[in-house]
Structures are given as structure tokens and as C-alpha cells.
């Protein structure tokens, strides 16, 4: 066990966990931030995507010991009033079906738009292909990202 002071969504959160614990489980089990989802645990599905200093990362294979002073943003911290352009576009296009993958999709999309405010369809496809949606909402994900890019 080891103590960590993590910067998450603009706050400092103290946890006492095994250094190997992936951030995903620190968030979900120790901080009750459950918007970040477990889908595969092996960096294959993207459900667990968070931002680490603004970059999209899979939290399921990211040990807490590797975080240091980096800033973590989770879906809960993406915006205060659920008004990030990506969130607004997601609501406008009613993207979700079951919704389980959507936190990860949104975090990946938000990071994409930050780096590339006007992505082409190909850019979107290339980036979003790391996130699986079992319900098959890919068309709306793409439409919503294009809408968000214009906001």
C-alpha cells in the first residue's frame, strides 16, 4: 500500500492503494467516480478513457504509481454543467443506446477536438476506432463529433 495525492478534476484526492492499482479502479472503487468504465482491462476497448494532462489515455492499464503530478480529468470533470461541446453534440444527436461505452467515446472525442479542432472524417475514424461500441452507434458518434467541431 502507498499513499498518493492525485489531481483529479481540479481537486486533490488522497488514496492509499497498492502501487500497481490501475487508475480505473482507483477512480471506481476508491473515489466512487464510476463514469469511467471497465470494458476489457487490456487497453482494447476504450471504455476507460480519461485525460492525463489533456491527452486521452486508457486508465485500465495505467498504474497509480505512474501518475505523479499529472492532472487527471474524468467524464465527471469534463465540464461543470454538462456543456462541453462534445457532450452537447452527443445529446443533440442522441448518440447513446445502452450508453456504457459513451464516457470513453466522449473523452476520446474531446481530446481529439482539442488537438485537431476541425478533424476530417478520416481523422475521426482513425482516432475513434480505438473505442468499441457494442451497440453500433458509430455513425452518430461521427456526426456528433462533426457537430461539436462547429460549436
Amino acid at each position: 500500500m502507498a499513499k498518493y495525492n492525485l489531481k483529479i478534476n481540479g481537486k486533490t484526492r488522497a488514496v492509499d492503494v497498492d502501487p500497481s492499482t490501475p487508475i480505473l479502479w482507483v477512480l471506481r472503487d476508491h473515489l466512487q467516480l464510476v463514469g469511467t468504465k471497465y470494458g476489457c482491462g487490456i487497453a482494447q476497448c476504450g471504455s476507460c478513457t480519461i485525460h492525463l494532462n489533456g491527452t486521452a489515455m486508457r486508465s485500465c492499464m495505467l498504474p497509480v504509481s505512474s501518475i505523479g503530478k499529472s492532472e487527471i480529468t474524468t467524464i465527471e470533470g469534463l465540464s461543470e454543467k454538462v456543456d462541453h461541446p462534445v457532450q452537447k453534440a452527443w445529446i443533440e444527436h442522441d448518440v447513446a443506446q445502452c450508453g456504457y461505452c459513451q464516457s470513453g467515446q466522449i473523452m476520446t472525442a474531446a481530446a481529439l477536438l482539442r488537438d485537431n479542432p476541425n478533424p476530417s472524417e478520416e481523422d475521426i475514424e482513425a482516432t475513434m476506432s480505438g473505442n468499441i461500441c457494442r451497440c453500433g452507434t458509430y455513425l452518430r458518434i461521427k456526426e456528433a463529433i462533426i457537430t461539436a467541431s462547429k460549436m
Binding site: 500497481s20 482494447q44 469534463l78 442522441d94 443506446q97 468499441i132
Partner: protein, 749 residues
Amino acid sequence: MNNTTNTYNRRSFLKSSALAGGGLMLSFNWITKASASEKLEAVLADQWSELTGYIKITPDNIIKIYNPNPEFGQNVMTSLPMMVAEELDVDWKNITVEMGYHDNVKLGPQFTGGSNSIRMYWKPLREAGAAARQMLRQAAANAWGVPIEEITTKSGMLHHSNGKSAKYGDMASQAAALPIPKDLKLKAPKDFTIISKSKKNVEGKKLVSGQPLFGMDYYAEGMLIAMIQHPPAFGMKLSSFNATQALKMPGIKDIFSIKLYEDGFEQTGFDTRTFNDLLVVVGKSTWEVMNARKKLSAKWEPAGDIKETINGRGGKKEVIVPGKLETTSAQFELMAEMAKKPAQELRKDGDPESAFKNAATIIERTYNAPFLAHNCMEPMNFFANVSEDKALVAGPVQAPGWIEPTLSKLLNLPPEKIEIQMTRMGGGFGRRAYGQFAFEAALISKKMKAPVKLIYSREDDMTYGIYRPMYTATYRAALDADKNLIGFHVKGGGIPEHPIHANRFPAGAIDNYLAEGWQLPTNITIGAWRAPRSNFNAAAEQSFLDEVAEAMGKDPIQLRLDLLKRAKENPVGKNNDYNPERYAGVLELARNKSGWGKTENSGYSRGIAAYFCHNSYAAHVVDMVTRDGEPYVERVTSAIDCGIVINPDAAINMVQGAVVDGIGNAFYGTLTHKEGVSEQTNFHNYRLIRHNEAPKKIDVHFVQNEIDPTGLGEPPFPPVFGAVANALYKNTGKRYYNQPFTNENNGDI
């Protein structure tokens, strides 16, 4: 016109019961069950007046509608309350929707599956809205001393021509005390103001901000995490284990083995168990439990043949689960052997033997498909808090009413002492119709005397699933010298069930017809998987018809339309369970909307397929191109007839999802075994369709009619496989008979 029969909307009686709060509550009673009044009291707060189990109104005119059915992405949280709101006459934007409590007496069957949610609630929910509206009008009539006929409603307000008006909330408590109206007149479809108008997902905002909606997110004070170590292979069982090392791991509370069912336990048809010995690790957090599990040393041994007592739909029977460790390639060989043996006759019209004897040409093709895992994005999980005298279980489950009797038996508690909370499900696809994970969680909690959340890892979820069966079918068509289709024969088999729907198209359209089926047992657990049986048939039959059309020199759409014309005008045999007109309707719509046969589409390899299942009709035209040397479905045109569409935008989303899912499974879906061990364990070796592999465009068109609505979760899915296979033929010149449609699976070109 109404072609559907609805087994659930026969309202047996309207039940009223006095409540502690002084109000009166109506409920629509479908099934006989003791009233669970304790549950209700807990639900009701003082200020709410309840009008029917579905509607609650406060004096401040806050109107809440309960969605009765479990939500797994089909959007019932929105579409079912829309049906209540329509008849209640309220502003949709002023409505609060909440997930319903589990109570099959008050809220109906509460079952998500079989594309039944909309269909079974269509009448009851509109009646609930209409009953409440009429009671509110009566309360106003009484208060104002005028006849009820003179009271009108608009957007949650009551009005009288003398100028008096009141909010629903003003009259709610008086209304709740009134007798229950009978002979409710429901709106005609042309008067709908909410139904058939697109409404946003009521949980949209929560979903995009990561709110805890899912079973995985369930949290209770003092909750422990449990995981189960299953045998490494189907056909094995636990022999012994040593947990000394694992117990020393941080955070671990206990490690033990328990049985799911005691010997002779009578299972319902949905009590399917993957394994009976549970080697359980319980600890404080998921990661600690995962790590401890790796330190377990367990010995496994062949389970041998196992006897199960199943009391399902077909009555009580003893079933022997064979002990053999199964290997997929050997299973396919066994199926090929079985296919040569005599099988059970399922339907026979005319004289198929003579037709084939006299045929000028016989076309014979065999189709095969492997097991498929559900791979719900949210792995299986469940929360349970079981004490001596009561139990709370919560989680993602498609049929809470089905798990309740089994929980009651396993925990030795009466049903009214068991509360089941339905969380949002991260996918279902049939997997969550089986409550094994809820039973496991409950037994673990009972043993631990603590609240426990059971979690399946992705590997657990994939390798210990309840899969889509393996199927095979051989289709034969007899053509005479003039290329007329004079005979049709399908013989289908599977592990452990055959896929054949003997009374479906093209039965009824061909004079000489024979359908046969056979099955082989297995110890690999199988169950409902999005559009059971249809998900295979539509691939096989619709590819076969494409080949028959080619041999007859006919356009594939025209062949189907000709057959349907025959089935409509002069049907062969009895019990044809499809409506040829509606079936033809989706084909014609798909033909028109896709520009079938138009030169501007000649750059695409086009495939058509249509299918009827779960009471709805679907046709797709798939447009394929070659991209980076691989076949790629770039566009799809879909035509659907599911009667009245409740929430069009959400319905389009679901059809698009079904198309994407269909393409993915057609190209990649497979779960194979070697000596009982699943060869796929996670998404690195079980391929799911990804963003760049989905079509760029899926145009969805609905047949516009006023037929009572039927389902949509499953019907668009099966014909995707057939349309993909037929487009592949155009694209590659090769027929793909084996799923998934890879070249290694279908021989070299």
C-alpha cells in the same frame, strides 16, 4: 388493420387497493401474484398521489411516469413513458421519468427481450394514461359541480367552458380516491401529439456526464467485491483448491467454494448455469480481488455427465449434460455427420420427394455458423445484500420477474422479502435474460453476511457465457425444365437446438415444401442471443434464395416478390406465420429507396435480403466496395415495417445499430473451443466491429401505417447477414457459406 396478437395486453382486471397515505391506487394486473404492499409503501412518499402504478402527481403538478421495463439501450426509458403521456395529455417537457420498481402486479411483465417491450405495453400504458386523465376530469367535475363531459384537458391542465381551470396536481388526490373508469376510449393514431414525434433520450444528460446508472456502478456502504474462478474448460469441475497464498493478499476477506444449485434443484428454462461449483474470492476492492485470484491454486477434474432437472416451457424434464470436452472443428464434423441422418419432420406441403425426383435442376447448399458470445459492453455483474430475513439485489437484468422465484428458492425467503432493483444495462442482447450472476451474488452475500457486488472480468464474461448455438442447414431447391421453383427443402440442425422456423417464408409460397430439424447436446451453455435462430436463418435462407434467383435467371427482389404474391393470393398449407403483404412492402420500399437496378449505383456490389421475425419485417440493401483490398460495406438502405413507430429518431438509431452489429458479426463473429477451453478470451482475439469498419451511411425508412407497434431490437438484425453475403458474392464472385465470412473459413477464391 391489426395483424398482431398480444398475449400480455389482455388486462385481467383493474385492481384497486387502499394505501396508507389515504389515496387510492390503481394498478393493471396481468398475472396473479400477492400484492407486495410493503414494497409500495416504501416507494410512496406522502405528497404523491398515485394514479395507476405508472403515474404520480404532486399538488405542485410535478408529474412522474415510471418506465416499467428494464433498459438495455432500446430506449424504453423514453418510449414507454411517451405512451402514457400521450393519453394523459401532458407536456412531455414537464414530465419526469424514473425507472420503475419491480412489481409485476402493478407494472406488468417487466421483461425486456423478444423485441416485446413496446408491443406488450402498447395498450396497457395508453390505458393507464387514459384512466388517470379521466379520473382527473371526474375529480374536477365533482369539485365544480358540472358533468364530466364538459371538462377538457390540455397539457396537464383541466378546463371548463365557464372559465374554471385547475392543474392536474390540484385534483390529483381527489382523483386518486375515485372509482376506476371502464371502457376507456383511446386516441386514434392521427391524433397523437407525442407518439411518433421524436423525443430525446430522457437519460441523455446523465449518460454523457458519467452518472452512476449501471449495475457496475452500484455502490452500497460496506460493500465487498466478489469474483468467481470458474473451471478452465466446459466439462470440468472443481476438484480441490489451496487458497493459503491468495488469502494473504491485501484486502482479501475470504475465499471459499459453494454450489450454485444443490443436487436435484429444479431449474426454470432461464436458470441456465455455466458451472455449478463456484470458487469465490471476496475482498475490499476489484483490483485486490483480481490479484488474489491469480494466486489461487485450484485443481480441476472432468465433471462427467451431469443430470439437470429443468422445468421450462416444455414442462419438467431430466436433461443429461454430456461430460465430453468439446472442440469446435470436431463439433462441425459431428454436425455434418448428423445432417446425413434422418431428422424430425417439422412441416411438409405437397409431395417434395416427387418434386425433387422430377427436377431438371437441383441446387443444394450447406451453411454453417459458430457459437457467438454476447460481449455486452458492461460485463455481467450483480449486487446483493442478503440477511436472515430479507434480500436486496440490484443490477442489470432483463427479466427480474424470472429471477425472483429462483432467488426465493435459493435463499429460502418468500418473494415479498426480496427486493429487486433494475439498473440500466450496458447491453443485453439476450445474455441478461439469464439470472445466474444474480443468484451467484445472492449466495455469496448470504455466505459473507455482507453486501457484495459480484463482477465478471471481461475474460469471465466471454469464456463462461451463454452463447448463440452452433447451427447448420442444408437448403435444396428443385427447378423444372422451365426454371420454375417446384420444390424446396430445408434441413437444419444445431448444438443444442435446430434453427428452423418451419412456417416462415418461403413456406406457404411453394407447392412442395419440406422442413426438418435435428439437434446435438452440449455442455457449452447456450441461450438467447439477439434474434435467436433467425440470426442464422436469415443468413442461410436469404443467401440461398439469391442463388436460386440466379439459377432461375430472375432478379433476387423479384423472385421474393413473386413468391410472396403466391403466398398472398393462394397460400400453400396452413399456419404461415408471416403476412406476405407486409413482407413484400419492405422489399418494395428497400428497392425504391435504394435505387435498385439504377445505373448510378453500378459502382457498388449490391446485396439484398429481407426477413420476418419478432412480429416485424425488415429488408436491407447493402452496398459494398473494395477498400484497401478488402470488401467494405459503405452504404446500407434499410426498410422496416414495425407498425406505428413510437420514437422515430431513437428507432433509426436502433436500426443503424443493428446493421452495424450485423455487419460486424457477419465478418468477424466467432467463438471457438479446444477441449472445452474458449479460444477467445477478450477483445484482442474476439474481433468486434470498430468505427472505421462501420458503413458511412445507413438510410432507414419505415413503412408508414397505423398497425399496432411491434418490436425493433431484433428484426433488423438477421437479414443484414444475408445481404452482406449476397453483396460479397457480387464483390468477389464467391459465395460465402460459413460464418464468419472470412476467406479462411470459406476456401480460397
